[in-house]
Amino acid sequence: MIEVDNLTRHYGPLRAVDGLDFLVEPGTVLGFLGPNGAGKSTTMKMLTGCLRPDSGRIRIMGHDIVSARRRAQQCVGYLPEGSPLYPEMTVADFLLFIAHMRGLSGERRDQRLRYVVEALSLRGVLAQRMVTLSKGFSRRVGLAQAIVHDPPVLILDEPTDGLDPNQKRQVRQLIRSMASDRIVIISTHVLEEVEAVCNRVLVIDRGRCVLDDTPLGMLARSRYCGAVSLTVDQPERVASALGSLDAVAEVELRSGRLTALPSGRGELLGAVSGLIREHGWPVHQLVLESGRLDEVFAKLTQAGGEAHD
């Protein structure tokens, strides 16, 4: 369990984090979203004990991050942004060093090291200096050091940033596989990642929480949630006919693709397909939309955005 209570942090006059409150239960993969400079990394640094809060409290598995920092830190694995590593060390030496600093020793240490090497497929690069590692391997080593002590809390700052699509998928799979009985907090700019791995989303903007919901709940806030998109031969004619339906609030036409937004009066998909059948229009594609996270994200974080910076 992570308890964050009225957390605040300034950088000079700038309020980087401004009265953040949240609780996270085991089994949660929390996606931390927000524009650049919203306070994501600052919050993560405070959660890991790297940065001291100005005011407010953080308790990690019951340990206060300030007054019982070491015990709290022992419960946390952390992947800093960009996965910084010591370039001149070998992967094996580095993992051994972290294991030692995490208080592992003897059989338990060997067993955990074997496990992370296996789980992140690092066997082939163990003897390699870290300066020679590809981005994907660097990230995997960063993840390995974060989980080597089997912590109940994992904090990953942009774990898939800069990886290719295959590597992204691998890292996401790994995060999902580790999530069942832990707390995982990931920050990301990639909205699809939230849908792919998270079961809870926290959007912060200018240091404040502007949304705390499930990914589905976030999607439901989109005006495209339940919208019907279709590709037809004469979009202009179809658009005006769709616009007259009671179940349609508005019709958008973008590069030949029509989108009918639901008005909430009546069932949209049924009404649209009825209209199509009635006129016998040939339809090339028809999609029921689940909502667009980018649109919700923009709506939440751009309100009064001009005053920002």
């Binding site: 790297c50 940065l51 972290i98």
Partner: protein, 248 residues
Amino acid sequence: MTDWWSELAALIRRELAGYFATPVAYVFLAVFLALAAAMPFYLAGFFEREIADLQPFFGFHPWLYLFLVPAVGMRLWAEEFRSGTVELLLSLPVGGWQLVLGKFLAAWLFLGLALLLTFPIWITVNVLGSPDNGVIVAAYLGSWLMAGGFLAISATLSATTSNQVVAFILAVLVCLLLLLIGLPAVLDPLRGWLGQGVIDGLAQLSFLIRYDAISRGVLELADVAYFVWLMALAMAANYLILMHRVQR
């Protein structure tokens, strides 16, 4: 408490392994040994003196350290900040004091190794004559202490920046000031401005004056205490700068 020491030992091991993982350590050792060996012969007439001692050898150490110790100390923190690995260190359940002490001790041990590797010159004087080996041992210890003073200052200045070159230049400047401050050329112009008490106090800070006795094998408690205090103070400053910079 055993955890505390084993964590410190792991930090020291990691640092030391880092030195020898790249050619930097070997280049440093080679340059150090070449200069340490050449200076007494070419600049001090080691043979011409016809005295079996190592005073010309030890006499050059302050000048050797002036550039070589900041070269070792400059990367200690600046590199951690530049690469972001400092965050990795801070997320580990260790104390800031352990980090400061671990880095310092590793670098000091490395300098000690460099100093030990000058042993052929010791053998040389023993072959050529019969020097007072007690004096030589004392001078070695004193030289290592002085290196620790230079190093603690260099490490502390390294914590103020993310740029190794800036760290190096700052460290050379501060060390040069501490070397020269006791010389009449520095103190005489100040005499009109400052009271005799201040002048005497400043002279007490001088590495050169402190080390002069040490290089002759006179290891006095006051001089040892001076370097130990200097190291302790510099490391305390290092800790405070580090904590201020990461704001933990």
